[in-house]
């Protein structure tokens, strides 16, 4: 009886201890789990606060962006207004410039008409020709004609634009463009005269090309006046010197050295003609294309 009691008692004690241990472990796990949940909750709270802050910053940035967009719209409107205003101003300036030009031409015409009969004691051209007792006959786009010499033995003469003394250039209002552009081209017999800018002279064919502003005029050099032929000879010599300098430049180039002469063609009227380069460009735009 006593033995039975002691074994039973021992079993009960062990069972009690096991139960107590189980409760202890379970409680410990619960406490640990609880602490972990608290930590996670705390972290979540932190993240939530951070998100709210970010949300606030985003909302603020959005508001700022809206403000910036509005400001940009306003500035864009202002820019459009300024552009319009500038455009109006430009039109006004262009109109004034046209008016100024028209008035200049009108005034110049009056000055040149009024020059008829004007007298000068003497005049010397840049080339050294000297005239005395001059009376102006006409001031035209190609030069000035006048009487000169003593009364009773006066003879008529004329000078081209390249012979005008600087005082007459100023007085009769010849512009730089006019001096560079216009030149009279007179036939050898003096019966015909044309005005225009010298374009080219072909030594092989003897053809002189003139641009009269509307079209190209071609003359045989032998049919031009002596003065014109002399001028052309000078130009030809000058042109040769310039051409040599340009060719030297082109020879230094990879591109220019190959195309400077005898390779290029240009349309003149109804035909292609050989085109010789008259300047040494630094760049070339090459356009590869065909009619098909």
């Amino acid at each position: 009886m006593k033995r039975f009691f002691s074994v039973r008692y021992l079993v009960l004690v062990i069972a009690g201890l096991a139960i107590a241990y189980h409760f202890h472990i379970t409680r410990k796990r619960f406490v640990d789990g609880n602490a972990q949940l608290k930590t996670e909750l705390s972290d979540l709270k932190g993240e939530w606060i951070e998100l709210r802050l970010k949300e606030g910053a985003t909302a603020y940035a959005k508001q700022e962006l809206i403000k910036v967009n509005k400001e940009m719209d306003r500035l864009s409107d202002e820019a459009a207004q300024i552009r319009q205003s500038v455009s109006v101003e430009q039109l006004a300036i262009e109109s004034l410039e046209k008016r100024k030009k028209a008035l200049f031409f009108e005034y110049r015409e009056q000055v040149r008409r009024g020059a008829k009969g004007m007298r000068f004691d003497e005049m010397r051209t840049p080339q050294g020709k000297h005239y005395e007792n001059i009376e102006i006959i006409k001031v035209g786009p190609d030069g000035v004609s006048f009487w000169h010499g003593a009364a009773g033995s006066a003879s008529g003469s004329g000078i081209g634009l390249d012979e005008l003394p600087s005082e007459w250039v100023k007085r009769f209002m010849f512009t730089k463009e006019e001096l560079e552009w216009a030149r009279s081209w007179t036939s050898a017999d003096g019966t015909k005269t044309a005005y225009g800018k010298f374009k080219s002279y072909d030594e092989d064919t003897g053809i002189v090309t003139i641009d009269d502003g509307a079209s190209k005029l071609l003359f045989d050099i032998d049919k031009l006046s002596v003065a014109n032929r002399k001028w052309l000879e000078k130009q030809a010599l000058k042109g040769k010197a310039e051409a040599v300098a340009i060719f030297e430049e082109l020879d230094k180039q990879v591109i220019g050295s190959k195309i400077k002469k005898g390779v290029l063609s240009k349309l003149e009227g109804d035909h292609f003609f050989d085109f010789t380069m008259s300047n040494a460009p630094d760049y070339y735009v090459v356009y590869y294309s065909a009619s098909w």
Binding site: V254, I255, L267, F272, A280, P281, D282, Y283, A290
Partner: protein, 87 residues
């Protein structure tokens, strides 16, 4: 043509050259007359001499901006004319 007149015709630093891929000069002339081309052409019989054939592509039209030493600076009409603005 408009780009040529605005940007190249008055610029001494740049020369515009049309490398004609027409097989005959007659075809090139017919087209040039019709459009009144103001620029210089390299016709078929001068392709080899010009030294520009090596830059040609297998398609047309093709624009190229090249410096005097033969270095390609831009290709395609937009890029070429944009760069010509700065020259």
């Amino acid at each position: 043509m408009e780009s040529f007149n605005k940007k190249i015709a008055t610029n001494d630093k740049v020369e515009f050259i049309h490398f004609s891929l027409d097989r005959t000069s007659e075809a090139a002339l017919k087209w040039a007359k019709k459009e009144n081309f103001p620029w210089a052409h390299v016709l078929a019989d001068k392709h080899a001499e010009s030294g520009l054939k090596k830059y040609a592509k297998k398609f047309v039209p093709y624009y190229m901006l090249v410096d005097k030493d033969g270095k390609i600076l831009a290709e395609g009409s937009q890029a070429v004319f944009a760069m010509v603005d700065d020259l």
